[in-house]
Amino acid sequence: MSVIDLSGLKGGLRELPPLSLYIHFPWCVRKCPYCDFNSHELKNSSGQTVQWNPQAGVASGGFDEMAYVQTLLRDLEYSLPAIWGRSVSTIFMGGGTPSLFSAQAMDTLLAGIRARLRLSPDAEITMEANPGTFEAEKFRGYREAGINRLSIGIQSFNPQHLQVLGRIHDGDEARRAIDIALSCFDNVNLDLMYALPGQSVEQALQDLDTALSYGITHLSAYHLTIEPNTLYAVRTPQNLPDDEISADMQEAIEARLAAAGFEHYETSAFARPGRRSRHNVNYWQFGDYLGIGAGAHGKISSHEGIVREMRHKQPAAYIQAVAAGQPVQSSRKVKRDELPFEFMMNLLRLTGGFETRLFTERTGLPVSCIRNELQQAIQQGLLEQDATTIRPTLQGQRFLNDLLTLFLGDGDQ
């Protein structure tokens, strides 16, 4: 019996992309008014918000960290068949606030993961941390557990802006957190937000300069976006900078980061050479990721196509579902005609674009199926293409939404 390669016919993939692991930690001390991630305030048994006390640690909180770690590992075990034999090149622990968990809990978790799947020896293992949760001892412990990259949600150093953003830390705490982080980690990202209520261009640059005064390797600068289903969507701040001012901010931030030796490699991400977030780059290169934890999303390719799955959002429901052996709440196969858009939505965020061959490699579709769209985008000056590469022009980066809608296909077809 001869083996016939059917992958071309089924729209399947000839080779599998790199695989990452995302782990979600759903709890926060307080929900920020702009945040639309799956995060839940710490509550005690009587439903009251718990006052976070760094000294008291998580023991006083409303969740059992070791039980959650065990749940994560069980969740992982159910997913192993889908990623059998593949090695994991990056891990990202996001939230919520993963740094509410103790170093010991993280150590147990990472040891458990290593025992269950093949983790590349040089794997990038990132943890998100909030400045209000920093403590030198704990962070040394994280490093020893194997975490090798930190991403700190500073947002701003300006006390006034931190207050409007509902952050639990102040400017001093932010600085202290970075000091602690850099004393144990050599690969640190800071998240900053701009276009904050009442913020001037000068203030945005002040925040950036403070961030750059540290030896960080990566910086994410996000335009504050009012997302649906957030407190800000209901009570939108009145004094948001207008389009002109926020665009000025963006340009000034980009210029200053370039001068400081940071590469602008994705819409909002800047890195020193060689220090891009490998985990996020894998998302943007339409790589695979397994997502475990409450509300985590995953994207897994196989020779049959690409499946997206999602876990239960509510921590209690998630824990129960894992206990019942059904961690996945919903999963669906991405239809072939959705693939070009999904690919572009990720790849075109990268300022350097992508090697043309990657399109077929990741979607299983020939590039010819987006010929017209590419042509249109090039005509509109949003895209440029050479022998090997497709990349967004500067205009295409600024108007990425307009560029992407070209690949959305027609609703009625």
């Binding site: 819409t267 939505m345 600024r398 108007f399 990425l400 809608t405 609703g411």
Partner: protein, 597 residues
């Protein structure tokens, strides 16, 4: 025949015509109470919503009068808007009498006056009725006087009624019997039946509402249409009660329907005369006219692949609306669409609304225009209903625009404001007559000005009290120019207008400034210019957006972010791409908003 009364009701919108008709039907037992939906005779949704009658309807009522005898009363409902004045005249000529219903608090309005004059001209007996007599603001004495002053009929003993509260209904029916003469006609003569209205029914084809003047018509009769020459075999005849009831015969003097297996509405034209093939009448009934479109506009699908769907929709609408005219048209900016002719602005709005509502069409309507008469240098005369088709000015000897005679009835307090408005619209006063507390203004005005926004502005300057009626007068030579609009230096043919030279600069400026407001900011600066000939007279810039990008997109965001972009795309889809600029639907009608403050 002496127990038949054919009558219609003349009334202004909102003066209670439909409610009154419903009361008659109820009183005479035409429908069970449970069958009465509010305002039975207005059967189209749009008619009910807007409170206007578009198609003529009819009800045959059996009324036992106080003299003990039973009378057959045929109520023929008439359209109540200036756009439909021909239909009104056909309905009226099917009657021997008309009830003039006037709101006792508001008094006489221009529309009513015009219809009354039509009725009187046709020899129809006009019987005044004061409605809404129970309103606190009712002034029956004053309004009676006004009817006498303005219309010149005796109104001192007008019936006082309230259709809403059911007051005076029987009194009205009594005057119908006593004051309106029975029909005259020769029951044994050759058939002459007037088509009052016709419409398309999915099951039986075209249904014609007719008034038999002479002779009689039965199923299996072979009939002939005297204007179109078409021949058909009668399948059914009957009356509306207002439910349809089949009869064996329709006799002279009666109003009823004829069904004759006709597939196309255009072979049963309103106003035509039906006669029998074997004993044809020698002369048709007077008054037949081919309906002329007065207002033209381009209708284009937003999505070009909906062109076929739009054609199907127009075809279906035309089945029931023979006055709607359309023909294919190509615009450089908008692609394939249709040039449509309408009776007036209201008619346009109704068609547009029905296309959007009943056929789910997404439409771009270009600014309405009138027909211009052009004398070319070679002496030939052409008519142009689309500004973008105006020939090169070098070939044109002169342009003539249609002039209408407008009759405006307005309370004295607003006369000044209305005169100012008429002057602004290039009106020439022909007459001004004080009639009680109201003033009748007669103006000759360019129809183009009336089509634009005159009616709305007339209403707003007079707080809704002024009313308007108009008729076409003549084509008149005028100093007209074509105003072009350029978007990013490209001429958008669908936005061209014909305007008077004197107001062209003002119009151009206002238009581009309005368009700047209506066109959303896009990826690049958009220049909107107005030009006459090659000469730019106004320019505005829609400043470019600086960016349009989602700050974050990670593994869990795909579905949500995709939805967001789909929403953006849907927003764009409602706009028309002209060159590389997205122009929203309402920008094509920006000219209608010029001058609004």
């Amino acid at each position: 025949m002496k127990h038949i009364r054919n009558f219609s009701i003349i009334a202004h919108i909102d003066h209670g015509k439909s409610t009154l008709a419903d009361r008659f039907i109820q009183f005479c037992g035409g429908l069970e109470l449970r069958e009465m939906s509010a305002q039975v005779l207005d059967s189209m949704d749009i008619e009910k919503e807007r409170g206007i009658t578009i198609k003529a309807q009819t009800a045959a009522l059996q009324y036992k009068a106080r003299d003990g005898q039973v009378y057959n009363l045929n109520l023929i409902d008439t359209p109540g808007h200036v756009d439909f004045s021909y239909e009104v005249s056909r309905s009226l000529s099917a009657c021997e009498g008309a009830l003039l219903v006037v709101d006792a608090s508001q008094g006489v309005e221009a529309q009513t006056v015009a219809n009354c004059y039509t009725a009187i001209d046709l020899g129809v007996e006009v019987v005044p009725v004061l409605n809404k007599i129970d309103l606190p603001a009712a002034e029956p004495e004053r309004v009676s006087q006004e009817i006498e002053d303005i219309i010149g009929i005796e109104a001192i003993d007008a019936v006082r009624a309230s259709a809403k509260s059911g007051i005076g209904i029987q009194d009205i029916l009594e005057v119908v019997v006593s004051k309106i003469p029975p029909p005259e006609g020769n029951p044994d003569g050759p058939l002459k039946a007037l088509i009052i209205d016709s419409w398309f029914d999915n099951y039986v084809g075209v249904v014609m509402l007719v008034r038999v003047k002479d002779g009689q018509v039965r199923p299996k009769d072979k009939i002939k249409f005297m204007a179109t020459g078409a021949e058909h075999l009668v399948e059914q005849v009957g009356v509306f009660s207002p439910k349809s009831v089949q009869r064996d015969v329709l006799n002279a003097g009666e109003v009823g329907f004829i069904i004759a297996g006709i597939k196309e509405l255009k072979s049963a034209k309103v106003g035509d005369t039906i006669t029998l093939m074997k004993t044809p009448a020698t002369e048709a009934l007077p008054g037949f006219k081919e309906v002329q479109s007065q207002v033209f506009a381009g209708l284009y699908p937003v999505e070009s692949h909906d062109y076929e769907a739009l054609r199907d929709a127009l075809e279906k609408l035309q089945l029931n609306d023979a006055s709607l005219k359309y023909e294919p048209e190509v615009s450089q900016a908008l692609g394939f669409g249709f040039r449509c002719g309408f009776l007036g602005l209201l008619h346009l709005e109704i068609v547009q609304e029905r296309l959007e509502r009943e056929f789910d069409m997404d439409l771009i309507t270009t600014a309405p225009t009138v027909v211009y008469e052009l004398v070319l240098k070679d002496g030939s005369v052409i008519h142009v209903d689309n500004p973008s088709r105006l020939p090169d000015p070098g070939k044109v000897e002169e342009i003539r625009e249609p002039i209408i005679t407008a009759h405006i009835l307005v309370p004295q307090d607003y006369v000044g404001a209305v005169i100012t408005l008429c002057t602004l619209k290039r009106g020439v006063q022909r007459n001004m007559q004080y009639l009680g507390r109201q003033v009748m203004l007669t103006y000759d005005m360019p129809m183009n000005e009336v089509v634009m926004d005159f009616f709305d502005r007339l209403k707003s300057t007079s707080r809704g009290y002024a009313s308007l009626d108009y008729e076409f007068k003549e084509f008149q030579c005028a100093d007209l120019v074509k105003l072009d609009v350029l978007v990013n230096s490209e001429k958008v043919d669908a936005l061209s207008l014909i305007v008077h030279r004197a107001s062209s600069v003002y119009r151009g400026r206002e238009l581009v400034s309005k368009m700047r407001e209506l066109i959303p900011r896009q990826m690049f600066d958009i220049a909107v210019q107005a030009a006459i000939g090659g000469h730019i007279i106004a320019r505005e810039t829609v400043k470019a957006l600086r960016k349009n990008v989602l700050a974050k997109c990670y593994g869990g965001d795909i579905t949500r972010k995709k939805k967001l972009l789909e929403k953006q795309k849907a927003g764009k889809k409602r706009m028309k791409q002209v060159g590389n600029v997205e122009i929203p639907q309402e920008a094509f009608l920006a000219i209608l908003q010029v001058g609004e403050k």
